[in-house]
Symmetry: C2
Subunit: 393 residues, 2 copies
């Protein structure tokens, strides 16, 4: 079966597994490798959508769990889908909701049939089955729908990892079936869709669905999980269960091994990773897509990413420092504001502190990724890595 979502490889680095490509989605193209800022509740905290567009954000991540609970996926569907609701015209990937449910300790419980959980807002009882996770994401109008998976924290017993990984496999089948039946009916996404060229369609192309490989840091389990997920077959593949507490060298080893099991012609998404260094390291290991709260959450806590490493803005040493956050940065914040001013804003608890630092951090992440992509395209990726802007690869 042909996938309505299309991924084209543009260039591959001869010295590593790094690759550049283009991902076609219902709301436009995404050039990979790409970093996706996290817009949990339909907003990247502190940023306007216009600012995100100007920053060059190509695709946002939305959190199904949060949007399902508030304002509710039916409300969003009835208002034309998440893009229209939040006035964001570019692509959106939604997670399945499972990760959030499980990270609310004590509020969630896993069964063969899905997650039983209570809302962190009002304590109400809910159930998230694989089918339900697909339905909610389709109602939101996501461009990329994630399969429901079970993510296990590090460290975990082999038994726990195997159980979760196999459950993820069974859920992947159910998610895919639900997704394909929706596609066959073509009636579940806001605005409808154009079924191939035959539709002659007023609607948009159907979303893509990504399956998730689990297995923790156990390479044999990773192989088993990958084989299972590949057998189901998706438009793209994600690596879940990483960046959950394991040592960085293990993250890299698992990424390296797992991408080697995945087909070259499908995009690969490493969930929840990571630092600017991680981006370069994992692109070198064959990853195309990333998301992480780090640039946004750290910004609000007063941590800026710079070409010289992390900078703690509140530090007293910056009280009279007229330099920008990063003298090598060309972002709107570094062109206008000093460290002394930003420090003052943080100490005064002003909203602008988080706003400006978030802007800078997103710029820094996107700029890092743009340089990585350009280096791949120009056959210069190994040299880019050894220059060490974002660590060595």
């Amino acid at each position: 079966m042909d996938a309505p979502a299309k991924f084209e490889l543009t260039a591959s680095d001869p010295g590593s597994k790094a690759r550049a490509g283009v991902l076609y989605t219902p709301h436009g193209v995404v050039e990979t490798p790409v970093f996706m800022p996290v817009g949990t509740a339909g907003t990247v905290k502190g940023m306007t959508q216009g600012e995100l567009e100007e920053l060059g954000v190509q695709i946002l991540l939305g959190n199904t769990y949060h949007l399902y609970l508030r304002p509710g996926h039916e409300v969003i569907r009835d208002l034309g889908g998440l893009h229209r609701f939040m006035a964001w015209p570019r692509p959106i990937l939604t997670d399945s909701g499972g990760y959030q449910v499980m990270s609310l300790k004590g509020l969630g419980r896993v069964t063969e049939d899905g997650f039983a959980f209570r809302s962190h807002l009002d304590g109400s009882a809910h159930f998230l089955s694989p089918e339900r996770a697909v339905e909610i994401q389709l109602a939101l109008g996501a461009d990329i729908v994630m399969a429901l998976d079970e993510c296990v924290e590090y460290p975990a017993s082999h038994e726990a990892l195997r159980r979760a990984s196999r459950l993820t496999g069974r859920w992947a089948r159910r998610c895919r079936e639900r997704f394909l039946s929706a596609r066959a009916l073509g009636s579940e996404i806001p605005g409808g869709w154009a079924a191939g060229s035959a539709a002659g369609g007023s609607g948009r192309p159907f979303p893509a669905q990504f399956g998730i490989v689990q297995g923790g840091t156990d390479l044999a389990l990773r192989r088993e999980s990958a084989e299972e997920i590949l057998e189901v077959g998706f438009e793209g593949y994600a690596l879940g269960g990483l960046s959950v507490g394991e040592p960085k060298s293990e993250t890299y080893d698992v990424v390296e091994a797992t991408t080697g099991l995945l087909p070259a012609d499908r995009p690969r998404y490493l969930m929840g990773v990571g630092t600017p260094e991680d981006l370069a390291e994992c692109v070198a290991r064959g990853v195309d897509m990333f998301d992480c709260v780090m640039p946004t959450r750290n910004a609000r806590n007063g941590c800026a990413f710079t070409s010289e490493g992390k900078l703690t803005v509140k530090n007293a040493r910056y009280a009279r420092d007229e330099k920008p956050l990063d003298p090598a940065c060309a972002c709107a914040v570094c062109r206008r504001y000093s460290r002394a001013y930003l420090r003052h804003l943080f100490l005064a608890g002003e909203m602008l502190a988080g706003i400006l630092t978030t802007h800078h951090n997103i710029y820094f992440y996107l700029d890092t990724m743009a340089r990585i992509r350009q280096a791949i395209l120009s056959g210069d990726f190994s040299r880019f890595c050894s220059r060490g802007r974002s660590g060595t690869c």
Copy 2:
């Protein structure tokens, strides 16, 4: 003596006391009547300076009390003044700090020599004399420096009003003396200043200083206060002690009576006022300048000003409302976002809620003022008022 700061009357409304003018300051011209958004601690909460520029903000108000305590006026002076510190190139008016000191109940005490107070941040003891208030504002590099006054809450006894009003008069003299000696020396403002045309100057023109008329709602006291302040002589005159709890009709009566006592060739500034309706009402009574936290503070609390009155964004009736905050508004927020989305942001406690509503409210205030000014210039002010966009005049 010629005032370095210049005010030119451009047009006067034949049917009211409304007037349009141009105020020249060290950091550029301000077209009056004008609304000044409040940037308490060197930031208009939730707005970037670039956004304020794009909105057409001509002049900001900064709070001496807050900036004196944090980061400290010496720090700001050493970093080149408040304009450079906060990266705001347009004019800034600073209040004297007295109002904030007195509104921190229990932390401030008034004496003949000034305000003794304790910091709300760390409890440290401070003293704000009339001279000190001038020195701090000069160190900040304000374009318009306010005299120190004592503002009394409504209701107050005649005795309390008279005492405060006369103290304000004595302080006005001391503030003016301190200001004039600084101007004679020409050495106390960041970046220096050009003393008239003879200076041939690399520096900027010297700031203006405004005196403040007190007297509460007692018209006889207002007259006595105005005479005292006028005798001292300032580049502009402010009406203090209003919008402190008195009935609106009394505010308007006091404004009407007091502007009648002030010279036509100097700008008049009504402190801490008010609603969009108040702007039109008080322009009609001869006021040129306004400041108020209402558009910004109310925005963060979920209240939007619209052409159809106030709108409480969180209201359940907007849960599925796809209309913008104000269908008649052309601001960037109304062109992009729905009430349903904004309501969601408020309920979710997202920063973007305050950011977007603040943007809209400032736009609405500036747009109201721009329409008022245009109506005065085109001789159409009475008709503007009777159309009632901002209430009747």
